[in-house]
């Protein structure tokens, strides 16, 4: 199976090149929100949702607007503006049409605008020269990888918060140690299914 097959992209983005533990992207939200399972799950779901929409929007804009007009250098500005606008629109839409879902997302939807992962995936879709379907699969896989990592982290942190941690290491330092061990574990995925 080649790297560009859809299954390959899914496995690679979710496990082998996990966005949080291997690629180091979106760490602010990872360490800030992974203190309990419920919060983490909510954030993970929101990330998957916004990531897929943002990827499709930015991919379309890049290939149908920026390239024909020879404005590729504007991609940084246009992608981030697309993402910010999209999040705003999604918030308004959910509030009016599916208020239950809006309440479930809570504050995370607004936090996602500065989530590095969304912008990173938009850029990587272009860098890897994926077609539209591949880009969608890549964003789903990355979102799933993010959700997986953040839920695992929250489970561990919940237990560690009850353990006797040295005073200087409480909070962020011990979280980083946990992340390093998780990252070590995820490194073991290299070569999975021959990728």
């Amino acid at each position: 199976m080649s790297e560009t097959s859809l299954f390959g992209i899914l496995i690679s983005s979710m496990l082998i090149n996990n966005i949080l533990l291997i690629r180091f992207i979106a760490l602010c939200s990872f360490f800030g929100l992974s203190t309990d399972k419920k919060t983490s799950f909510g954030m993970g779901m929101a990330v998957i949702f916004v990531m897929v929409m943002a990827s499709s929007a930015s991919w379309t804009i890049y290939y149908f607007l920026l390239i024909p007009l020879k404005l590729e250098f504007l991609r940084t500005a246009s992608f981030i503006l697309v993402i910010a606008t999209l999040v705003q629109l999604v918030e308004i839409f959910l509030k009016k049409v599916i208020p239950g879902l809006y309440k479930a997302f809570g504050i995370y939807l607004a936090l996602i605008t500065t989530n590095c992962a969304i912008l990173a995936v938009a850029f990587l879709n272009i860098d890897y020269q994926y077609n539209f379907i591949q880009a969608i699969v890549y964003s789903i896989g990355t979102g799933l990888g993010y959700t997986l990592a953040i839920i695992l982290m929250s489970g561990i942190r919940e237990r560690v918060s009850l353990a006797p941690v040295p005073k200087s290491l409480k909070g962020f330092p011990i979280a980083f140690f946990i992340a390093s061990l998780m990252s070590l574990a995820f490194l073991g995925f290299k070569g999975l299914f021959g990728f």
Partner: protein, 202 residues
């Protein structure tokens, strides 16, 4: 004059963006696989931080409160695009090493955070100092982490001769990055805690 100097020095130690405020973590571990990469990223981010702080502060009276975040983003992304193109033109190997993290400077919490918390409410010169201080603090930490990881993981310092014959490859890989920052933060917190205890005893 004292207040002005404080704006600058705060960013380096007391309010170091990474060790104290704990923002801007995204590029920190990914590009610090060697000292020179860390230094390049630190300088690039500092450039954007200083430039956007100055511009936001200069036009702050004209930015309506409701749309200030999108306007900050436009200003910041302009400078990120500039530094992206400049690096691509004059330092291609560095640009390739930093990869997707150069455009990611746009969502670097430090830059947006300082624009919102400081530049929007303070005059231009103070914002300039604040940007320089924060940028310097960030650059120092990221270069330090890069140097540590490069030394223990590769045996080199800034690309010099191999000083260790059997380096720990783990340090350059992702887990090594997490461990380095964890230890650094732990040392920093320990120093702060013991300083607090000493001052309380006096």
């Amino acid at each position: 004059m004292g207040q002005k100097l404080e704006c600058f020095t705060d960013g380096i130690w007391k309010q170091n963006p990474i060790l104290v405020l704990m923002i801007g973590l995204c590029p920190l571990l990914a590009v610090s696989t060697s000292a020179i990469n860390g230094l390049a990223m630190g300088l690039a981010a500092s450039f954007v931080l200083v430039a956007s702080n100055v511009v936001v502060s200069a036009v702050r009276k004209f930015i309506p409160n409701g749309v200030r975040i999108p306007i900050f983003i436009i200003i910041i992304s302009t400078f990120v695009t500039i530094i992206d193109l400049v690096m691509n033109a004059y330092f291609p190997p560095l640009h390739h090493a930093l990869g997707v993290f150069v455009p990611l400077i746009v969502v670097n919490c430090i830059i947006l955070g300082r624009a919102e918390a400081f530049a929007y409410q303070n005059p231009v010169f103070l914002s300039l100092l604040d940007g320089m201080g924060m940028g310097l603090g960030f650059t120092l930490i990221i270069t330090l982490i890069g140097a540590i990881r490069e030394f223990f993981g590769n045996g080199t310092v800034f690309g010099s001769q191999k000083l260790i014959s059997a380096p720990a490859l783990l340090m350059i890989l992702p887990p090594g990055g997490f461990i380095t920052i964890a230890v650094l933060m732990g040392i920093f917190l320990y120093y702060n805690n013991s300083k607090g205890k000493r001052e309380a005893k006096k």
